[in-house]
């Protein structure tokens, strides 16, 4: 299935259903977790927090920018050396399972069920932690998301930045 459409058209995630509780799901996230081998669901929950105020306000543009960034994140991860990929994979896996979440965030509540404010609390907890592991988790995700977002020329207009055009002339 084409990835970009996959996020917006697939059924509501099995992972979410399995929890059997009232979920907080951002409106555009309708994903089948079983198909989510690339952590797209997880990132799609973190993106609006990392990129708050940077993403476009208009709904459709916002979704497009998020999907574009998700694609780029996956591409960015594939460029990391094997060690870096393994570390990141471990972190992402932890964020996707309850025990891992408990260790990293002190709560088993899946990230999908946390409101943006709660996700900010989580990021701030890592960011200011006295444990290097937490700070590294925060910084790793932060760099990955921000670098992926700002690497796309489509996202440069807010910066009033464009590369020179002489090569196209």
């Amino acid at each position: 299935m084409e990835r970009r459409t996959f996020l917006t058209t697939a059924l509501v995630g099995t992972a979410a259903l399995a929890l059997g509780v009232n979920l907080y799901i951002p409106e555009h996230i309708k994903v089948n977790k079983a198909l989510d081998s690339e952590h797209r669901l997880l990132f799609s929950i973190l993106l609006p927090v990392f990129l708050d105020d940077a993403l476009p306000e208009v709904g459709s543009l916002r979704i497009a920018a998020q999907n574009r960034t998700l694609d780029t994140i996956i591409q960015t991860i594939s460029l990391l050396p094997a060690d870096g990929q393994a570390e990141l994979e471990q972190l992402l896996d932890m964020l996707e399972n309850r025990l891992g979440l408990l260790v990293l965030t002190g709560s088993m509540t899946p990230l999908m069920m946390r409101k943006p404010d709660e996700l900010i609390v989580m990021l701030e907890y890592w960011r200011n932690s006295f444990l290097d592991m937490m700070v590294i988790a925060y910084q790793g995700l932060r760099e990955l998301v921000l670098a992926s977002y700002y690497s796309c020329p489509e996202h440069w207009s807010r910066l009033n930045y464009a590369k020179p055009t002489f090569l196209e002339e």
Partner: protein
């Protein structure tokens, strides 16, 4: 607009180039000299040895790219042209390291600043590090030669606004500053040096020494990662390399290189890594130790008018006001003040925070001036640098940041803020967790004392790697002699930034060019007289 591409033209003219990703069987190649790495050291050595009539093979782990593929976008440049897609870090993740990985090495992506080795550095090496025959007087003819070869001259254009702020601040405060010499020919002043020069104006190894060597019959093997050196008694007998595919993953094919003489020029992190992996003699356990980075701090400043730090020669002014102020080896560690180019990924990732605060910083992208302080490491007894070590999967760099370092960081943040306010900044933001935007030098000055600094809090980066395979005459201090020849293997030399016994206190490329020019010339004479 069509820009002549010397690589495309050279390949069409029949250069000997093997892209190891295209191999369908193992290969063995022979030459008089095999050079590992095609950066500042490898490139210069290749041209000189080929010129001397020797047959030369250059083995490069990275791909052969050229202006045709330099599209001025970080998303293409970093994965194609940098080690680890520009995301390399020290083991504790406290320092981000940029290193080139393509034909031309770091020179393909560097910012063109060209500085002769400072005299105090050479004096220190002579006095404390047993280096012989490397005074400025000895080296100056080689600087002259390489400056001519690489069109190095003072940048005569107006500095861009980012550099202009550095100049203005220095003028206002009465601080030392210098107009930078750059290695460019026909530069369009666009500001994209760090992504590969799209117009071939930068006189990197990619468009100068390597094409010259290939024109004269040298062979270039790209996407071939050298794994180890085979050795027997005091001779190197072969080099083994692994072919990489287009995604830079190992394929099933190997390459063996045989030569009379072997030069390792894989840069300061990888030269020690290769030598360690090869289990070469190292009786005093020096390999990989004393790796230096010029660990670099960033200070952002918001101006009311446009800075456009992405546009124009990235570096054209520097200040040495604080480099030697407290002596060479005693006192606080000195630091050099420069500016970096300002591009979206670089700035987004090397700043602090996320969400609203980060977005509002990025909203002021064009008003952002960035000053950097490069700390001169390796001279002081409390500045021993880092260590490159082998791991099961590759290598790791451990670089402890101690009290002496943080003292200098604090001072450098102060100097940068003072300079930026003097240049007219509205606000200054030291790039360290928890620091607020300061609205005046007075406010910044009083807060500097208590600024919470530390690993993983303060952003520390480096584009200069040096050391790890030091030169000198005393074998307790060095792996190679003062001409880059191994103390232990008669047909092995090292010609790159790894031979520096300390950092330089200046941007490294010109030192590597000049020292390699001298050492490769001496080696060529020796090899020719023995054949």
């Amino acid at each position: 607009m069509a820009i002549p591409d010397p690589i495309v033209e050279g390949l069409a003219s029949g250069w000997k180039h093997i892209d190891a990703s295209q191999l369908s069987q193992d290969q063995t190649l022979e030459a008089d000299v095999v050079i590992v790495g095609s950066g500042a050291g490898g490139g210069v050595a290749a041209e000189i040895l080929t010129d001397a009539g020797l047959t030369v093979i250059i083995v490069e782990g990275g791909p052969l790219k050229s202006s045709e593929s330099f599209n001025m976008e970080e998303r293409r440049a970093y994965p194609n042209l940098y080690h680890q897609a520009a995301a390399m870090k020290t083991q504790d993740k406290a320092i981000g390291i940029f290193q080139g990985r393509a034909v031309g090495g770091s020179t393909t992506v560097n910012w063109t600043t060209s500085i002769r080795t400072p005299r105090p550095t050479l004096d220190f090496w002579a006095k404390d590090k047993s280096v012989k025959g490397l005074s400025r007087q000895d080296l100056d003819p080689w600087f002259d030669k390489m400056e001519k070869r690489l069109n190095i001259s003072k940048w005569e254009y107006e500095p861009n606004r980012n550099n202009q702020a550095l100049k203005l601040g220095c003028e206002k405060l009465g601080w030392d500053y210098t107009v930078i010499k750059r290695n460019v020919k026909g530069c369009w002043n666009t500001g994209y040096c760090g992504m590969g020069c799209p117009i071939n104006a930068k006189q990197s190894m990619l468009v100068t020494t390597i094409p010259a060597a290939l024109d004269k019959g040298a062979t270039l093997v790209s996407r071939a990662k050298v794994i180890k050196l085979e050795h027997h008694n005091d001779k190197i007998s072969a080099i083994e390399a692994q072919a990489l595919n287009e995604q830079m993953q190992p394929t099933e094919f190997k390459l063996i290189f045989k030569a009379k003489h072997y030069i390792i020029a894989a840069g300061a992190i990888h030269t020690p890594t290769i030598l360690l992996r090869s289990n070469l003699a190292d009786p005093h356990q020096l390999l990989g130790k004393r790796t230096f980075l010029h660990p670099t701090l960033l200070s952002g400043a918001i101006f009311s008018d446009s800075i456009n730090g992405h546009s124009g020669a990235p570096q054209s002014i520097y200040s040495d006001e604080f480099v030697w102020k407290h002596g060479t080896a005693s006192g606080d560690l000195g630091y050099k003040l420069e500016v970096p180019p300002i591009h979206p990924v670089l700035i987004a990732s090397k700043t602090i925070g996320y969400g609203k605060t980060h977005a509002s910083l990025m909203d002021q992208f064009n008003q952002l001036q960035v000053t950097i302080a490069l700390i001169r490491d390796g001279f002081h007894e409390q500045s021993q640098g880092g260590q490159v070590q082998l791991t099961d999967t590759g290598f790791a760099i451990d670089y402890p940041l101690n009290e002496a370092f943080w003292r200098s960081v604090r001072r450098s943040f102060g100097s940068m803020a003072e300079l930026q306010f003097a240049a007219g900044a509205k606000q200054v933001l030291p790039i360290t967790e928890g620091a607020p935007y300061f609205n005046s030098w007075k406010e910044a000055k009083s807060a500097m004392e208590t600024l919470d600094l530390g690993p993983l809090k303060t952003v520390v980066v480096s584009a200069h790697v040096m050391g790890g395979c030091p030169m000198g005459e005393n074998t307790k201090l060095s792996m190679v002699d003062s001409q880059g020849n191994s103390h232990y293997y008669e047909n092995l030399s090292v010609m790159d930034g790894s031979v520096f016994p300390t950092s330089l206190g200046a941007n490294p490329q010109l030192t590597i060019y000049a020292m390699t020019a001298r050492n490769a010339t001496l080696l060529a004479e020796r090899l020719k007289s023995s054949s």
